[in-house]
């Protein structure tokens, strides 16, 4: 088992190297036309997204090593960082992203890096599977003593089998989501693992016109200084 997991780490490094090179090559192109600039930007962003996913896989190995500390995390700030990174993707795909914060408790017990990955995966999912000209929503609010970060998208609703698996609190393995073409379910699987590590609950709400994915985080008792 140990050698199998280490194989994942080696594979992650091997995969990251060409992606980093591809990104550098795109950056090295110098001055180019406006149309080509769009292609370059897309090349860079696609490489960065792929590297992030590979990094997430490597993080899963580090979970077992106890590399991620739980601490009070300012949830809105994490959401702001991720939305700012992905805003361009929504715009490029002719979709909107609405952000709504109504939480009174500012801090949750989590790991900032892992929480960032969970939210990132939810939002990437929303970008890919929302229909054009729809407005996805990222919201943070309190429910039953927990802080909930939810991402509502407007695309094919989540199939019942995945929904049922999510209800158990974790995804056991990546599973292709048939109604969401091209999805390997890897992002959801990774988010599930990270949530599990943070003692958080991951789940989904099915709507007629889409799905909300959420993670419920324990509220931190530490008083906020801000």
């Amino acid at each position: 088992m140990e050698s199998e997991v280490d194989g994942i780490l080696v594979a992650a490094h091997e995969l990251k190297a060409p992606l980093a090179v591809l990104r550098q090559l795109a950056l090295a192109l110098g001055e180019i036309s406006v149309d080509d600039e769009e292609i370059r930007t897309e090349m860079i962003k696609v490489s960065e997204r792929a590297m992030r996913q590979v990094n997430d896989l490597a993080k899963m190995r580090r979970l077992e090593e106890g590399m991620f500390k739980m601490e009070p995390v300012a949830v809105r700030e994490v959401c702001d960082a991720v939305t700012s990174e992905l805003k361009y993707l929504f715009e490029a795909g002719e979709r909107e992203l609405l952000v709504k914060y109504t939480n009174r408790s500012r801090l949750a017990m989590a790991n900032r890096e892992l929480l960032q990955s969970v939210i990132y995966n939810f939002l990437i999912n929303a970008v890919h599977y929302s229909n054009k000209n729809t407005r996805s929503q990222l919201s943070v609010f309190e429910t039953k003593g927990k802080l909930r970060v939810a991402v509502r998208d407007f695309g094919p609703t989540l199939p019942t089998d995945i929904f049922k698996e999510l209800k158990t609190g974790q995804i056991l393995k990546p599973t292709s989501i048939a109604m969401r073409p091209g999805s390997s379910g890897l992002g959801l699987y990774i988010a599930s693992k990270f949530a599990q590590f943070m003692n958080a609950e991951i789940g989904a709400v099915r709507h007629q016109d889409g799905t909300s994915f959420y993670v419920n985080l324990p509220v931190s008792r530490q008083m906020s200084l801000f």
Binding site: H13, K16, A17, L19, A20, V21, R23, Q24, L25, L27, A28, E48, M51, N55
Partner: protein, 112 residues
């Protein structure tokens, strides 16, 4: 003269190009670079990958700081490993660039 030590030739070429200078030499491993340094060719700056074929970047850094004349060479670590929060200044490291996020402008800034 600037040295780029990286076993990924394409990445090394990207760094060389970003340096904007002609006197940039590329090495695929630390041994080749060390041999040239031992012959008296001291670079002003080295861009160094850490995970290399053969001796790794830290072995190379240890060699550099072991000698008076080479301990003064500025080194920029270029790696996809996470060195955030690590102080490598004892190794003569003046900067750390992450391969996943660095830009040609950041590379050039160290050259300047």
């Amino acid at each position: 003269m600037i040295f780029v030590i990286d076993d990924d030739l394409t990445m090394a070429k990207c760094i060389k190009r970003a340096c904007g200078r002609a006197d940039v030499r590329i090495f695929a491993n630390a041994i080749e670079a060390m041999e040239l340094i031992a012959r008296g060719e001291l670079p002003e700056l080295i861009f160094l990958d850490i995970l290399l074929d053969g001796p790794d970047g830290f072995t190379f850094l240890n060699e550099l700081v072991s000698y008076v004349d080479t301990s003064k060479i500025s080194v920029v670590v270029v790696s996809s490993l996470d060195f955030s929060g690590r102080d490598l200044s004892n190794y003569g490291v003046v900067g750390i660039l992450n391969k996943e996020t660095m830009t040609p402008e950041e590379i050039l800034a160290y050259v300047k």
